[in-house]
Amino acid sequence: MTATPVNESSVRSTDVDLITPEQPDLPGGPRLGPGSRYALISTLGYVASLAIFGVLVAVKGADPISVYHTIISSTLLNGDAVAQTALRAIPIGLAALAVAVPARAGLINVGGEGQLIMGAVAATGIGVAVGAAVPGALSWAAMCVSGALAGALWAALSGVLRTWLGASEAVTTLLLNFIANDVMLYLIYQAWKDPHGSGQPQSRPLAHVAQLPKIFGSQLNIGVLIALVVVAVTWFLLQRTGWGFQLRVVGGNTEAARRAGLRVNSLLLSSMAVGGALAGLGGALNLAGVETQLRPDITLTFGYVAFLASFLGRHQPVKVVGAALLFSAVALSGNGLQITDGLDGTIVDILLALIVAVPLIVAKYRRRAA
C-alpha cells in the first residue's frame, strides 16, 4: 500500500496545483491537458459502472443487453414513458435543490425524504379538507403553500438544532426522516385512514377538482410547469441575489463571513428553510398531481436519490435538475426491469450507487483540472 506521507485533504488546496501541471504524458501517448484527462477518465468510469451493472444482472440470470434496452425503452422511447420520467423528476429534482441550497452555505441536508413526506402530508390535510369545496386553482395554491411551509418547518428544525445547539445537521436531518415516516404512517393507518379504502392503509383521495389538471390531454400535469418556474426562481436566488452570494461567502469561509458582518446564523437557517420549502413543494406536487392520496412508501427513497443527484450535479441548480432527470429515469426503470426482465426492482438502487461512485472516485482529477 503506497500511502502518501501527507493526508490528501490537507494538501488539496495548495500543493496539488503546484505539483500536477508538470505531470509528464506517456512517451508517444496523446498529450492530454488536465481537463480532457478528467473528461476521459470520468467517461471510462461511467462505462465501467454500466459494465459492472451488466455483469451483476447477468449473475441474476438476465440478459444485460435486454436490461439496458428495457431501461431506455421504459423511460425514454415513448411519450407516456417520458411523461412518467418527468413527473417523477418533480419530487426528486425539488428535493435535490433542497440539498443544493443549504450546500451553498456549507450545510449538509440529508433530510429530503422527511421534507418530501411532510410536504405531502400537509398537502393531503389541506387538499382533503377543502379540495371539494373550493375552486381547483385555490386548492392547488393552498396545497403547494402548505406543503412548502411544512417542508420548511421540518428542515428549519434541523437548522435551529444546528445554529442554536450545535447539533450536526447531517445527522439530525437523517433522524427526522424516520420520524416523518412514522408521522405519516400514523395518519394513514389511523387518524386519516380512508373509511372507504377497503382496509388499505391510505388517506381519503383528493376530490377530482383538487387534483392538478393534465396539460393538453398528455400525461403531464401543471406540476411540471410549477416546478420549472420554481427551478428558475431558485437559480435566480442563488446566482443573482445578495442572499445567494452571502450563502456562498458563508459556505466558503464562515469565520470570514462573520467578521465581515454577515448574520451567519440567520443565513444558515434561511438556507435550510428555503431548501425544506422546495422539497415540501415537491412532495405536495407529487401528491396533488400523481398520487392523489397518501399511502405508505409514497416517497420510495426519492429524498435519498435526490441527495445523490445534487451531489452528481455538484449543487449547481441546472446540473442538479439534469441529474434528477437521469435518476428519475433510472428509478422508474425498476418497474420495467421487474416486469420485462424478471429482476427485483430495487436492483436500480445498485445502478444509482454505481453512477454516483464515479464522480467521487475521480474527484482528484477534477480538482487538478479546475
Binding site: 500500500m1 500511502a3 502518501t4 506521507p5 501527507v6 493526508n7 490528501e8 485533504s9 490537507s10 456549507g106 450545510l107 449538509i108 440529508v110 438544532l161 445554529t163 445547539l165 450545535g166 447539533a167 450536526s168 445537521e169 447531517a170 445527522v171 439530525t172 437523517l174 433522524l175 427526522l176 426522516n177 424516520f178 420520524i179 412514522d182 408521522v183 404512517l185 400514523y186 389511523q190 458563508v250 459556505g251 464562515t254 451567519v264 444558515l268 435519498y304 441527495f307 445523490l308 451531489f311 429482476l343 427485483d344 430495487t346 436492483i347 436500480v348 438502487d349 445498485i350 445502478l351 444509482l352 450507487a353 454505481l354 454516483v356 461512485a357 467521487l360 472516485i361 474527484a363 482528484k364
Partner: protein, 303 residues
C-alpha cells in the same frame, strides 16, 4: 420476571445491535472519517451472517461472514474517501444504497425462512447476582463481545501508542505525517475495522436477536449509531450508555405493548429516533469542542 426487568434485558440485547456499529463508527471518526455507510455495513452483515448461518448451519461461520461483509463496505468507503478523497457523506450514502440494492436482490430467497438465533450463555457465578445477573450476564456471546470491546477500545485509545496515533490522525493528520506516521493507512485500517463492527452489529440483529432476515431490516439503526457517537462526545463508555439507552427505549416499546398498555404504536416506533434526537440536542453543545478536528470538515463545513 417483571416489565422493568424484561425491558432492561431486551435493552441490553437490542442495544448491542447499536453498540457494536457505534463502537465501529467511534473508531472510524476518531481517525477523522465519518461513515454513514455504517447503515450499509449493518445491512451487509445482517444478510451475510444470516445467509451463511442458514446454509451452513454453523452460527460461527455466520458471525465471521457478517464481519467480512462489513469489512467489504469499510474497504470501499476508505478507498473512496481516503485514497480518492471523495466526499465522506456522499460516499456513505451511496454505499448504503448499494447495500440496500444488493441485499434486497440477493436476500429475497431468505425472506420467510428462520434459524435458531444465538443461544444465551449464563456466566457461572455472575449470572446469579440478584437482578443484575439476569440482565447483564445471561445474554448471547455478541453481547459479551460488546462489553469486552468497550474495555478494549478504551484501553487502546487512552493507554497505548496505537491509540495515540489514531487520535492524532483524527485531529491533525499532517502532524502524524510529519512525525513519520502514515495517516492514510491509519484511516483505512480504522474505517475498515469500524465497518467490521458494523457488520457484526448487523449480524447481532439477524442471527443474534430475531433469527430471520427481511429487507431493510436495520431500518436506520446505523444512522442512529452515528448519532450516538456524536452525543457521546466520542467517548467509548458514553457510547455504551447511549446505545443501551436506545435499546431500552426500543425494548420498552414492545414490553408496553405486550402488557396491553395502549400507547400509540407509531409514537412508539418513532420514540427511539426522538430520544436520539433529543439527546443530540442536549449534548451537542458540550461535545462540540471534543469533535476530532479532521472530522469537522466533513461533518459540517461551516460553523
Amino acid at each position: 420476571m417483571n416489565g422493568v426487568e424484561q425491558t432492561l434485558i431486551g435493552g441490553v440485547s437490542g442495544g448491542t445491535a447499536i453498540l457494536l456499529p457505534a463502537l465501529g463508527e467511534l473508531i472510524s471518526e476518531r481517525a477523522g472519517v465519518i461513515n454513514l455507510g455504517t447503515e450499509g455495513a449493518m445491512l451487509a452483515g445482517a444478510l451475510g451472517g444470516y445467509a451463511i448461518t442458514e446454509s451452513s448451519g454453523v452460527i460461527w461461520y455466520g458471525i465471521i461472514a457478517g464481519i467480512l461483509a462489513g469489512a467489504a463496505v469499510g474497504l470501499a468507503h476508505s478507498w473512496i474517501t481516503v485514497r480518492r478523497s471523495g466526499d465522506q457523506i456522499a460516499s456513505g450514502l451511496l454505499l448504503w444504497f448499494l447495500a440496500l440494492g444488493v441485499t434486497s436482490v440477493f436476500g429475497t430467497g431468505y425472506v420467510g425462512t428462520a434459524i435458531t438465533p444465538l443461544s444465551n450463555i449464563a456466566i457461572p457465578g455472575l449470572h446469579s447476582i440478584p437482578w443484575v445477573g439476569v440482565i447483564l450476564f445471561d445474554q448471547n456471546i455478541l453481547v459479551y463481545a460488546g462489553y469486552l470491546l468497550v474495555a478494549v477500545i478504551w484501553f487502546v485509545f487512552y493507554r497505548t501508542r496505537v491509540g495515540l496515533i489514531l487520535r492524532a490522525t483524527g485531529e491533525r493528520p499532517e502532524v502524524v505525517a510529519a512525525t513519520g506516521g502514515k495517516p492514510q493507512l491509519v484511516q483505512i485500517v480504522a474505517v475498515t475495522i469500524g465497518a467490521c463492527l458494523g457488520g457484526l452489529g448487523g449480524a447481532q440483529l439477524s442471527i443474534g436477536y430475531v433469527g430471520n432476515w427481511f429487507n431493510d431490516m436495520t431500518s436506520g439503526y446505523g444512522f442512529v449509531a452515528v448519532a450516538v457517537v456524536l452525543f457521546a462526545a466520542w467517548r467509548p463508555v458514553r457510547v455504551l450508555g447511549g446505545a443501551y439507552l436506545f435499546g431500552i427505549v426500543l425494548a420498552a416499546a414492545s414490553v408496553l405493548q405486550a402488557h396491553g398498555v395502549s400507547v400509540n404504536q407509531y409514537l412508539l416506533d418513532a420514540l427511539p429516533y426522538l430520544v436520539t434526537l433529543l439527546a443530540l440536542a442536549v449534548f451537542a453543545r458540550r461535545g462540540r469542542s471534543e469533535t476530532p478536528e479532521a472530522l469537522t470538515q466533513s461533518l459540517s463545513r461551516s460553523g
